[in-house]
């Protein structure tokens, strides 16, 4: 029996992706562990290797947008009959038609799935289930626990796709950990929501996973849906009246992710920005000397690196700024992982400097430089952009003096780094030319009030004004 090659799911936020290149031509041989296709998603590009040896048959062509979990091809083992063409190729089937197809034929060739799921998928699946709530009955969850079945991978057959006992039983008897139907993987776990909220969301075309619940236990209730702006904006509206559009750029991939995440961030949190001027004389001096000192090691710290270090160090003393507002509670994050916004032609990506508070500036500079290069080359790994607890974003190189960065959810703060300019300090009545820079701090007022946020900003400023403290 041929083994499926799946479109692997990398990270929770992945909702679609495509094969951007087949490394193994249709009908050619592949060995287990060899690269078989290149995956392109909104966030990352990843080369996927084969889990079996055999003859590769393509089911989809390069560039067809699919959902994670969709089958993109098969590997036929030696001795198996290899058809010339594969029947039932989805071509560019829309998500809707695929879901319908799966609803009517829920048990096709998924039985042999577990081994075919590649390592990267296996790594990301628990993340999916961690998030909590998949529509399932309490009895189903209990049975799943007793039988050792991972219920998050079970396709539900109850009302509204709810996983019921029988589903778990069926999976356990078939003795296969069946991954959820592809549509289920694609949509990820459904959050806890009232039936009415689910119905309203579905009627109004609102993605319920984009909504933060305010009911008991964070459950999504009717008012949450009503408060959420309708996300589906009619693309045809512009053609009816007003200025005519020229080229139309489809909103997909990275653009789509950025659009929805930025919009959601502004909708959900109470964010606001304040600016503070920093005397950068000492930072400029320090950086100049560090650049010289480390030149032969190929390490060149940037101003942003130094700001990241200051931001991270100050977070240790201001844990509320390193928190996540979760509705009914505020989680103080133990690690200080600072995301740094990197602009790519396709859009913005935010790789993460882990434990930035503990890294010496030299190591930090090495890491940011590695991340920036990897980001530009599309070679970021999963760990490289996960787990951020705060973000630093710089527009200083464009001469920007102040802006209002948008929080990278679910973080509580983001620091905007502006240009360094020739400012003035007053020495008595005499103006003294001084290097200055503004910091633009956006924070979530739900978690932190203005005064403590300002105290944090002052601490960052003080660190930058006495930058030797960053070296110890």
């Amino acid at each position: 029996m041929p083994k499926e090659i799946y479109l692997v799911k990398v990270g929770m936020s992945m909702t679609e992706g495509m094969v951007s290149e087949w490394f193994v031509q249709d009908g050619s041989q592949v060995k287990k562990g060899e690269l078989v296709y290149a995956l392109e998603t909104e966030k990352v590009n990843l080369d996927v290797d084969a889990d079996y040896s055999g003859t590769v048959k393509h089911l989809v062509e390069v560039g067809v947008t699919l959902e994670p979990g969709d089958v993109v091809g098969y590997i036929f083992e030696t001795g198996e009959d290899i058809p010339d063409t594969l029947a039932g190729a989805p071509a560019a089937a829309s998500a809707e038609t695929k879901r319908e197809a799966e609803a009517t034929a829920p048990v096709p060739a998924v039985a042999a799935a577990p081994e075919t799921v590649s390592a990267s998928v296996a790594a990301s699946d628990p993340v999916v289930s961690q998030d909590g709530h998949i529509k399932s009955s309490p009895a189903a969850r209990r049975l799943a626990k007793e039988l050792g079945v991972d219920y998050t991978r079970v396709a539900g057959s109850g009302p509204g796709g709810r996983i019921v006992e029988a589903d778990v039983q069926a999976v356990s008897q078939s003795d296969a950990v069946v991954p959820a139907a592809p549509a289920e993987i694609a949509t990820g776990p459904e959050p806890k929501a009232s039936p009415l909220a689910k119905r309203l969301a579905s009627e109004r075309g609102i993605d319920i996973r984009s909504i933060q619940g305010t009911g008991p236990g964070g459950r999504i209730v009717q008012s949450d849906i009503e408060n959420a702006a309708v996300t589906g904006v009619s693309t045809g509206a512009a053609a009816v009246s007003g200025p005519r559009a020229g080229e139309r750029i489809p909103v997909k991939g990275m653009r789509k992710t950025i659009a929805s995440r930025m919009h959601h961030s502004l909708q959900e949190s109470a964010q606001l920005t304040m600016d503070m001027e920093v005397n950068m004389d000492d930072v400029v001096k320090m950086r100049t000397s560090l650049v010289e000192e480390w030149a032969n090691e190929g390490v060149k710290p940037t101003y942003t690196d130094i700001v990241i270090k200051a931001v991270a160090k100050a977070l240790r003393a201001h844990p509320m700024m390193n928190s996540q507002f979760l509705g009914s509670e505020i989680a103080l994050m133990t690690e200080i992982n600072v995301g740094m916004a990197v602009a790519l032609p396709e859009g913005l990506i935010v790789p993460v400097v882990r434990n930035a508070d503990q890294l010496p500036i030299k190591e930090l500079a090495r890491e940011t430089s590695r991340l920036a290069i990897a980001a530009r080359e599309g070679a970021l790994g999963l760990d490289d952009y996960a787990g951020g607890t705060f973000t630093v974003t710089a527009l200083g190189m464009y001469g920007v003096d102040s802006f209002t960065p948008i929080i990278n959810e679910p973080q509580t703060g983001i620091m905007g780094v502006n240009r360094i300019f020739d400012g003035v300090e007053w020495n008595g009545d005499k103006p003294v030319k001084t290097k200055k820079m503004n910091l633009s701090l956006t924070w979530d007022h739900r978690a932190v009030d203005g005064a403590p946020a300002a105290e944090y900003l002052v601490e960052v400023r003080n660190l930058l004004q006495s930058p030797y403290r960053l070296l110890v």
């Binding site: 009415l196 909220a197 009627e203 305010t214 008991p216 009914s328």
Partner: protein, 455 residues
Amino acid sequence: MSEHNVDVLVIGGGPGGYTAAIRASQLGLSVGLAERAELGGVCLNWGCIPTKSLLHTADVMREAMTASELGLEISKPKFNLKKVVKRSRDVAAQLSGGISHLMRKNKIIVFVGDAMFQDKNTVVVGDDTIIADNIIVATGARARNLPHIQADGDRVWDARSAMTPTFMPKELLIIGAGAIGVEFASFYNTLGAKVTLVEVMDQILPAEDSEIADLAKQSFIKQGMEVLTGTGVDEVKVTGKTLTALIGGKNRKFDAAILSVGVSGNIEDLGLEAIGVEVDRGFISVDEYQQTSVDGVYAIGDVAGVPCLAHKASHEGIIAVEGIVGEMPHPLNKERIPGCTYSHPQIASIGLSEVQAGERGEIKVGRFPLLANGKAVAVNDTEGLVKTIFDASTGALLGAHMIGPGVTEMIQGFAVAIGLETTEAELMETIFPHPTLSEAMHESVLSAFGRTINL
């Protein structure tokens, strides 16, 4: 004079106050509670509980009177008014003692006496001065008088007098047909008084759905009451043992009258004005977390506004306390508070009436009469209706209104459903046990969508 420091002081030991005190204690706070009369408040001592005892007596008596229909031969039951009242008082006393026990168990210091604010953190009760970070005002409400009619405890009764009668009036006037008036009407009517129930609004039970209220009115009339709606009592005069009331331009004679025209908040003599607590039309103004206009001072229950219901007070008590400790409770949704009237027939409801719901948009209304319910026929009590109201576009259950046997015990089913925001789909898929009166709830939902089975 002794001084006490506590995290929370609750003023008033009714269902709101004592619940707040216990919850605060559970959350690790030190708690004091001031009460000037009996623990348990009006609810337990002079309201909900003792009247349920009286009404139970009436229910058993009614059953006994109709026992021949069930093949039983019982001679006509007689009541001993003294014993009926005594049992009601004993029940109240027993439960109030239970609250004392709960206070001890939760290490809540009870201060006996009138409470008076010195400042927003200091309250004096008798010889004790209590300093508290947070103070919860839960002083409740009392029966309202009318400008031209005052209860005198002799022939013009307030609720307290009405639940401790020393004689059974032959002709009884009840002024005000809210839940309290209707319950007394039901009790006295069953025990043999000729009851005249007068309501100035166009329907009895003005808070209820008008269809349900109309069914109640018809039932009361069938049971022998005179029910006058849209009618005021212009004057009441007591001469010896006779009470003369001017109703609709006519003088009518009665043995007694019960004044049940609502309640007003107990906001006086607490020093609220001095510390700047805002009051609006006789009730303390609060925000969604029960906080008054003064930081650290909270108000819950009847004194914080309508509806004046014990379960609303308890819930607000929990909200206030959890808010104090920063647990971010969910504010009370006043459209999800069930209400019950324990007359015969019983009435229970939650959510919007048909008229209110209709004003908000398209609705679907389901009705199922108990006449078509097997259990109701079997227990010889088929007078009743279950009415459900849904949002036509979303399927949200907006309101449920029931009249008939057992409905006060059944309404919680719809309360859970509304609380969980179920739609008609989940309610239809729920299996209701057979044979029960509750099947009428299921059928009512089915009926709203044209799918009723047994009708």
